[in-house]
Symmetry: C2
Subunit: 371 residues, 2 copies
């Protein structure tokens, strides 16, 4: 089915906050959602018309799910290959399993970018301590050793400051298939969120300036304090990547901005073939949210114009941060989003708040918050 109609059903793999927000955007457009997730306490189940709670390896459950939906999408890139294959044999999977294959392995992803002529940090494949030592000789230190798969929020990676730390680092990541990457001396970390439609049409949101704490995204600010030409280049890179992947849906491109005097150079850090935490500001400060844009793309519908409506700062509410909900509700210009997760744990993303610039250009009004 090339194009969905209102009343059709989107299948979503993964029941976390991203799936939840996709489901709500779809519901607003008259689409039904069916969420598939092995976790019975999935936040997305609460806003979906139907749900399947089963392992990703349960082929019978997957087949029934495929039968019940008109298109399948996902909220995370670590969808097992066989899961994607079982589904893709029965129903359109958007973005395609190829986007998954490229993006769920850091080495494949970097090689893809390199082949596409897009600048990244220098990198080497590492499958053994010998290879790691050889790679360190070529790339130098400091460098970062990362597992090829299943890393997120700083997990599965370790910094190597001197060649002598190689053995410890190899041990630290569990001797898993890995990639060694040069450290990029960036001034800023940014992201470009692009949507690409079934017909190849693309639309890029304004570039976000992302600040991390403890390897977890804490703030995104839009517009990013970069030159307009740099922003245009970032958007162009995102469009090229989406095109090279023949991607359908939203794709997040994380970039490093390196400064040398007034010159700004971009290096792609990593890709996420899905809606992304650094695009959460779009829900309140843009004419269309990344979630709606993703739904439009995978439904075969036209994309909306992602016009920035207000300067905005997104703050992730991580762990105990969410206990500030009552203060945030009372803060003028703040838009609170909570994910309905039952248990607060350190490092767990519980919600976020979008603070819109007031007419005088300040975000929110909390006197305590530094800008």
């Amino acid at each position: 089915m090339a194009r969905l109609s209102p009343g059709d059903t989107i299948g979503i793999l993964g029941g976390g906050q991203l799936g939840r927000m996709i489901a709500m955007a779809a519901a607003r457009l008259g689409l039904k959602c069916h969420v598939y997730c092995p976790d019975a306490a999935s936040p997305a189940f609460e806003v979906a018309a139907a749900s399947t709670c089963a392992p990703y390896e349960d082929e019978a459950a997957l087949a029934a799910f495929a039968e019940a939906v008109d298109v399948v999408t996902y909220e995370f890139e670590n969808v097992p290959d066989t899961t994607a294959a079982v589904l893709a044999a029965r129903v359109p999977v958007r973005p395609s399993p190829e986007s998954l294959r490229v993006c769920q392995d850091r080495l494949t992803e970097k090689a893809f970018l390199s082949d596409a002529g897009i600048a990244t940090a220098a990198f080497r494949k590492v499958d053994s301590l010998d290879e790691l030592e050889k790679a360190l000789g070529e790339i130098g230190t400091p460098a970062i050793l990362k597992t090829r798969r299943f890393g997120y929020d700083g997990k599965g990676q370790t910094m190597i400051r001197t060649a002598g730390e190689a053995a410890d680092a190899w041990e630290a990541i569990g001797k898993a298939p890995a990639i060694l990457e040069a450290v990029v001396p960036f001034a800023l970390e940014c992201s470009a969120i692009v949507a690409r439609g079934v017909d190849g049409e693309t639309a890029v949101f304004d570039i976000a300036d992302n600040r991390h704490e403890n390897h977890i995204l804490k703030f995104s600010r839009v517009p990013a304090p970069i030159a307009p030409e740099t922003a245009a280049k970032a958007a162009d890179i995102a469009r090229r990547i989406a095109g090279a992947l023949d991607h359908v849906g939203v794709l997040a491109v994380e970039l490093f901005v390196v400064r040398d005097g007034d010159a700004e150079t971009l290096f792609v850090n990593e890709l996420a073939p899905r809606v992304h935490n650094s695009g959460h500001w779009t829900e309140d400060a843009c004419a269309v949210s990344q979630f709606e844009q993703h739904v439009r793309a995978i439904a075969g519908w036209p994309l909306a114009i992602p016009r920035l409506v207000s300067e905005v700062e997104m703050e992730n509410l991580i762990g105990a941060d969410a206990e500030r909900w009552a203060d945030i509700l009372a803060e003028p210009g703040a838009r609170l989003h909570l994910y309905g997760k039952g248990e607060t744990r350190p490092g767990r993303k519980m919600g976020h708040v979008n603070r819109l610039a007031s007419p005088n250009g300040r975000f929110g009004t909390s006197p305590k918050r530094p800008l």
Copy 2:
């Protein structure tokens, strides 16, 4: 319970589009919703964490529902008295059954407004043809005969142009307990949507200019083309009514604007003790939607500042109008909302579209649409 916490559950009586949009606003704030509706095909069921499909008279189902939720609200004012009483004995009902009692009977409502010193059309109680003829003698023609209860979208009412039409009119409304109202020679029909918190705090949205077709709301335009003083008076009337009702939640006040030269005079037409179709523009053109504001109020949370973000025109998609969904999706500046109703019927509200003013002050870009 005076104040809800994230994770608590709102019970919603009624599973139509209003309940659906309340549920989505609640979910965004980390609240769960439990929708109670006798209709198995209720659109709100699809976005709610829990649902009960049972008659409003089923006291056992109501008791179980009350047990499962932390507060009860409703999307329609015709909640049966006993339903409200059964629930209110077990759990806070917001707005209170008193708001229901006043607003579900046109005579009680007009008498309440009159007692509160708020101008309305002249009206008389009509329980017989004799009373109708007497009332026509006092009020004159043209006048409108309306059933006291269960009227909406022009149903249960008939225009009387000459005294000779009395008997036919009395027949036409089924000889039900009724009210005769003078016709107000209005220049505009407007509405003021007010939210009132548990602590008596109020916030009024910008006044909407409402245009009806076939007695059904078709367009709301904001800001309304009335004098700033008139808008302030309308807001003040809405606040006074909410206060006099000790209302908690959103309340819609429909008003007639009568013009005499430059002078504008307001008459209250009717009240709805709930979120209202003429407030749907708030979802895309205001810093807070009427649905979130209602959730905040009934949760015992602070109200948000209902700052208008853009001029806007809301168009109801009635019956076959919704078949234009693909054109609307392609229209810049248009925000489509579809309710997920399975069956299209003439006169049925299928969705709406909010068209935001572009920087040059025009709504949307469709060349065919008159402004």
